[in-house]
Amino acid sequence: MKKYLLPIFLLLSIMARAQEDYSERSRKWYLPDHLKLQFAGNIGFMSGGPGYISRNKTLETDLLFGFLPQKFGGDALVTLTAKTTYSPWRIHLKNNYYVAPFSLGAYLSYTFGPQFDSKWPSYYPVGYYWWATSFRPGVYFGGKAGRNVIVNKRKRGLELYYELGTYDLILISYVQNSKFLNPGKIANLAFGVKFGF
C-alpha cells in the first residue's frame, strides 16, 4: 500500500502548488482547499476527505476515506480513494450562486481486507485472474451547484454535486452484453457536498 500512497501525495502536492493564489493566501501551500463529504458512489456508504482545486477552479483532486457499515452493505468495508474531477464550465448567477453543469472525472479506490488482492498469490498461474480485487478504477460524469460567501473577510464556498458513475469490471461487462445491460443498469448515483476554505 505504501508504494501507492507516495505518488498520490506527490500528485496532490503538485496540484496544490499549481493552484497557489498569492494575492489571497496566508495559508501554507499544502493545506487543502476544501473538504468533501460524499454519499454512495462505490467508495463507501459515506466518504470524506481533503482536496485541492486548480487556480482556474476547473480541476479538483480529492483523497476520500470511505466506510460502509455491515448494516447497509452486508459487509463492513473501508475504502481509500483518489479522485479527480474536471468541470470546464462555470455559470455565475445572482447572489454569488453558480452552476457547473458538467463534470467529468475518474477515481481509483482501494478496499481493505484479506479477501482482496493487489497481486495474486503464487499458487495461481500468471494471468489466471487478470484484475486486482482491491483496486477499482471508475469513471463518472456529473454536475454541481454552489455559492461563494465571504466569512471573516475570507472567501468560503459551499457546493452540492452529483455524480453518475461506473467502474472497469462493469464497463467491460456492458461492452460485451449490450442487450441485457444498458446505461441505467451499469450506472450508480452519488451525492456530495464540498466545503471550500
Binding site: A40, I43, L68, V99, T111, Y123, Q176, A187, N188, L189
Partner: protein, 268 residues
C-alpha cells in the same frame, strides 16, 4: 427562481436513472433482496414438490460468467425444451465474484420455467464471492433427493484454497454416498472436474476411487473447461461429462431413470 430551476436540473438524473441499484457503496457490497436469499434451499423445495416420475430430465449449464446476453438466449432455448424438471448450474455464475453479477444472473435465470440450482465455481470464490454465494444460494456442499435420484453438489475449486487438502471435502462426499439406503442413482455435480489442473492433484485419485467404488454412481457432471467433453477418464466405470460455457452457446440435457441414463449436447 432561476437558481431553483438550476437545482431542479441537477436532480434530473434521479429521474433518468431508475435502475435497480441506484446507490452503490462498494463493488464488494452484499446487498440482497429477500427473493435473492437461500435460493438453493427454496428451489430444492420447489423441485421436491414436483410429481415424481420414473424418468427425470434436467438441464446442466455452466460458466455463465460475463455472458448475460447468451444466458438470456439460453433461458429461451431451455424454456422450449419439453419435460424438463429443473436446471443445474455447474458454477462460475459470476466472473469477478461481485454480488451485482450474481444478481444479474439470477434475474435472468428467474425467467426459466423451471427451478434452478447451483454449485460454486472458482470465479465465485473471488473477493467477497463466497460470502455472496453462501447468502444467496446456501451451503457450498449440499445434496437433495428427487424420485430415484440423489444429487450431490460439491465444491471442487481446490486452487482457490491453495490446494490445502480440504477441498473437495472427501469425508463429506463419502458420507453422502454411503447414506443412500434406497440405492438411488447418485449424481455428483461439481465445477472443476478431477482431471483438471485446478483440482487438488493429491485428492484426484481418491476422489475418482470414491465415485468408482459406489455402484450407484454411473456418471458425474462438471463445467469449468469451456468445452464439451465426456469419457470414462479413469477407466473405472464412471462416465464424466463436462458441459461447455454459456458464451459457447451449449448445454447438456440429462435424462436419468432406474438403471439407465442419457446425455445430449444441445447448441443454441
Amino acid at each position: 427562481m432561476k437558481t431553483f430551476c438550476h437545482f431542479i436540473f441537477l436532480l434530473l438524473p434521479l429521474v433518468l436513472v431508475s435502475c435497480d441499484d441506484l446507490f452503490q457503496f462498494n463493488p464488494n457490497q452484499i446487498i440482497l433482496e429477500d427473493d435473492e436469499r437461500d435460493l438453493n434451499n427454496k428451489n430444492v423445495k420447489l423441485i421436491q414438490a414436483l410429481p415424481v416420475t420414473d424418468t427425470v430430465k434436467f438441464i446442466l449449464l455452466g460458466d455463465t460468467q460475463r455472458g448475460y446476453d447468451e444466458t438470456e438466449e439460453f433461458v429461451k432455448s431451455a424454456n422450449n425444451q419439453s419435460d424438463i424438471s429443473f436446471v443445474l448450474h455447474a458454477g462460475d455464475i459470476s466472473d469477478f465474484g461481485l454480488t451485482q453479477e450474481f444478481k444479474w444472473v439470477n434475474e435472468i435465470m428467474s425467467k426459466l420455467k423451471y427451478p434452478y440450482l447451483t454449485v460454486i465455481g472458482n470465479h465465485d470464490i473471488v473477493a467477497n464471492g463466497p460470502l455472496t454465494y453462501a447468502r444467496m444460494y446456501g451451503a457450498l456442499d449440499y445434496s437433495f433427493e428427487f424420485g430415484n435420484n440423489k444429487f450431490i453438489f460439491i465444491n471442487t475449486n481446490s486452487r482457490e484454497y491453495n490446494f490445502n487438502g480440504n477441498v473437495p471435502d472427501l469425508v463429506w462426499l463419502k458420507s453422502q454416498l454411503s447414506n443412500n439406503p434406497g440405492n438411488k442413482n447418485a449424481i455428483v455435480v461439481a465445477h472443476v472436474p478431477p482431471f483438471d489442473a485446478d483440482f487438488d492433484p493429491e485428492l484426484e485419485k481418491q476422489y475418482a476411487k470414491i465415485l468408482a467404488d459406489d455402484p450407484n454412481v454411473k456418471f458425474t457432471l462438471y463445467g469449468h473447461q469451456h468445452t464439451f467433453r465426456d469419457g470414462e477418464f479413469y477407466e473405472d466405470g464412471v462416465h464424466y461429462y463436462v458441459t461447455t460455457n454459456i458464451v459457447a452457446r451449449g448445454y447438456l440435457i440429462v435424462t436419468t431413470w432406474k438403471g439407465g441414463y442419457k446425455v445430449d449436447r444441445i447448441e443454441f
